[in-house]
Subunit: 496 residues, 2 copies
């Protein structure tokens, strides 16, 4: 008779196989599946996800968890993480899960209608219902200080709302000030980037640069999809997708660096964790730190373009002949306060996120009623970015996520940015000048450091533990703000 721990491991391995199989089905759906296959595919994915959930939530899992005797640190980490997941999965009553699904299903339709017709009132009652469900969910999951804690914990395990709030508050002041100063300076010409960039050359360049920064194509691949994403089926199979726009250089190139950053995280997880619940990246914020590090701190840096601009010019001789490296570098870093989060630049992006975080908390606390959302949204856009939408479709209705019920999710984007700069600063302390390495195209020391200090741990360490062990303390906006001040201060010639 095998031990409780062995039985638990076997059960968890089955569940992980079901989850990874679902991910394969979903990847196929986004990349290769004939359109007519969608109905059958939805049923197949739903069956696998449901079986995984049911298998996990059975009493047997609780029994095995109670009886399992850890024999080493890895076992201890496994049991801790699985207990956390089990509590989370079993605390939500079935009727709430059902209602959440019904409410968000209707909310999605209400949101679509509202956005299409610029009619917030079509979404408002659904938003109220979604908020109510989220509050009940938070109560069921439990929290210490405020309901938002329970929701945030789903995406950023162990992070407290108070911590995020205090870090964001300080950052916001500095950032609004920087954006305001930049707004007074001449606009950077970005038109170079919207010339004709043939798709094949974009694809080939992307694959080449992804390989050179360290994405392992022997354990992954790239496909096309409507929206780029990365997905993982095992430590040995972590894939990315891209979307090519032949009239815009940025989406495919920076998107590829971004998705490769996510996928390299998953490729770097200790193989011993493969097929266990510890296999994945530890949080959405830490995951985003990896994508943003390669996309921005590396990919939008001056040394990166010192190294790559001549090559890129060879890939696109028509679009880039006569363009200087400096012009190109400025273009890919242009700051332009806009209404649309998903197209926002490196500096203003965080303000979009903070506005959403503040509004989520205010709606959950009842401080902002659903009916007041458009006004509250517009006020923040004006205050933070100096722009305001003409319509709610461009404003508080722009993102689908709230209609999906996802509260507590948005802040992880900004957390990722902040963490990326904290890790960068720790890496620089350990490796010396990163600028020189990047300028020479030597990325393996960077990737090696990330593997050693971040990737290999999988879910064994929380984001905060990783930051403490590398940077020396938990979440801190200082390094990112210093980075932004220096980079964009130079670029716009402002003493930010």
């Amino acid at each position: 008779m095998s031990s409780a721990l062995e039985q638990l491991r076997e059960r968890l391995s089955k569940i992980k196989d079901l989850e990874n199989a679902s991910a394969i089905l979903e990847w196929d759906q986004e990349t290769h599946m004939p359109a007519a296959g969608v109905e059958a595919r939805s049923r197949q994915v739903s069956t696998l996800r449901q079986m995984a959930h049911e298998l996990f939530c059975e009493d047997t899992t609780a029994d095995l968890l109670a009886k399992a005797k850890p024999e080493n640190d890895l076992d201890k980490d496994l049991l801790r993480v699985v207990k956390h997941d089990f509590d989370h999965a079993t605390r939500l009553p079935a009727d709430l899960v059902g209602e959440f699904s019904r409410v968000t299903s209707m909310a999605r339709e209400g949101w679509k209608e509202g956005k299409a017709n610029n009619d917030f009132s079509a979404f408002e009652p659904h938003l109220a219902a979604v908020l109510d469900c989220n509050l009940r969910k938070a109560e069921a999951l439990g929290y210490e200080d405020e309901p938002y804690d329970a929701l945030l914990d789903e995406f950023e395990p162990g992070m407290k709302t108070s911590e995020v709030t205090s870090v964001f508050e300080a950052l916001r002041k500095d950032l609004v000030d920087l954006v305001g100063q930049i707004a007074k300076e001449p606009v950077i010409d970005e038109s170079i980037l919207t010339r004709y960039y043939p798709e094949k050359a974009q694809w080939d360049l992307g694959v080449r640069v992804m390989s050179e920064i360290g994405y392992d194509f022997d354990r992954g691949r790239q496909d096309r999809s409507a929206h780029p994403f990365s997905t993982t089926f095992s430590v040995t199979d972590s894939r990315v997708t891209t979307h090519l726009n032949k009239h815009h250089f940025n989406p495919a190139f920076f998107g590829s660096l971004h998705e490769a950053g996510h996928a390299m995280y998953e490729q770097g997880v200790d193989p011993a964790l493969d097929g266990t619940p510890l296999q994945d990246g530890t949080s959405l914020g830490m995951h985003e730190s990896q994508s943003r590090l390669w996309e921005n701190l590396v990919g939008r840096s001056r040394p990166f373009w010192d190294h790559y601009f001549p090559l890129v010019q060879r890939y696109f001789p028509a679009a880039l002949s006569g363009v200087s490296e400096g012009e190109f570098y400025r273009a890919v870093n242009a700051v332009r306060p806009s209404l649309i989060r998903i197209e926002a630049d490196e500096v203003t992006y965080n303000l979009h996120i903070m506005a959403r975080f503040e509004l989520e908390r205010a709606m959950l606390s009842g401080e902002v009623k659903p009916a007041q959302l458009p006004e509250a949204w517009n006020a923040r856009m004006r205050d933070y970015l100096g722009v305001a939408p003409d319509t709610d479709s461009e404003g508080c209705l722009q993102d689908i996520h709230w209609s999906l019920g996802a509260f507590g999710y948005f802040p992880t984007y900004a957390l990722g940015n902040l963490m990326s700069a904290q890790l960068w600063s720790a890496m620089e302390r350990d490796l010396g000048s990163l600028e020189d390495l990047v300028a020479n195209g030597e990325f393996s020391p960077l990737l090696g450091w990330l593997r050693q200090n971040v990737h290999r741990h999988g879910r064994r360490k929380t984001a905060t533990q990783i930051l403490e062990a590398t940077y020396g303390s938990g979440l801190d906006a200082g390094p990112w703000m210093a980075y932004a001040r220096k980079k964009f201060g130079d670029l716009y010639d402002v003493a930010a």
Copy 2:
């Protein structure tokens, strides 16, 4: 509380989802998966297949089967087929399943070694063990006349060995005679087919012709793989793969027609059966009848090339300029007795299959001992084809299948050929001259007839029932032999 029938349907739907999901994982493995992913993928597929098997074999399934009250003919068909599957799945004792797996796993290694070194003795003891396992399997499954019945039933449900034997016996005499006559005639020059055929043009032509015969790319797709295959995930998603050889016209072109034939069968199943155990083609023989009908009766016919040769010449101007349609038609139909089944022409292929069928039966009955296999094999090759291998690697060791434990599987290839001609003759009775339709590129009446009479039934009717309802009786070699005699008699100018 839902009825027993509803509960059973729900359970079967889950199982089918797991099986279809496994098929997606396997398709990905053969087409797109990075090589390093194989170990994790094997685990994932094995978990899904095992869960499907366990869920099906639980006592609950038997209880529901016993209690379910059919409300219509569809329900009756479902219950009949599921009872058959359940009996089959639960009759094999777990220790035999385990031993079968161990024995074939070792046999595969023994076969590889034997084939690589032309050393039959390396495989001989494994063959004996595989035979023993198959005999025990047949006993567990049960049979009326001889053990082979039980094994054949796995691939060709309801077909009796005696039926196959008597049909094959008569066919063999006629066929050996035809092959003997052809062997005396001048050899047809096939060198046209091994000129340079650019891969892109092969791909484009294949997709075009597959579309034109009726393969629905809105509910399917084509990818590359090392070995061509077709696979189905739902009635709305049935895919094919191809393998391109730039120095040979045949593999991709006729392979595409062949795989499209299989996939069109699955695309033609009644959507009401989707996601149930009735969704698939009814037997391997009937499946092969569909692929061979499009590959050979259509794709290697004179009217087909009357219609397509000018187009194909435009796709390959370098290879085919100055080539006449007649030369091309003769080349794609050249008969050349050879040692290798997978490269065999339309006429000799059946003899390869019959030899294997006879040897399988003789080995199971003890008439041919494993040690006598090489001699028995070579004798048949000489008698049937007039050629004999110099080595066992080219002889009885050429195929992997026996080492995998697959006994009862080979005959379905020849059954498919025979059935294709029976269906063709019924179709001609109903539709009038098929030659005219094919010569005009009008394939939709043919496909429509097959959908109506074969495809839509899925597993609701057996192959024999389909033949009886269309052709008027069960398995019959007459139509195929008459077809071969006419076609190859004309081609080689022999009065066969």
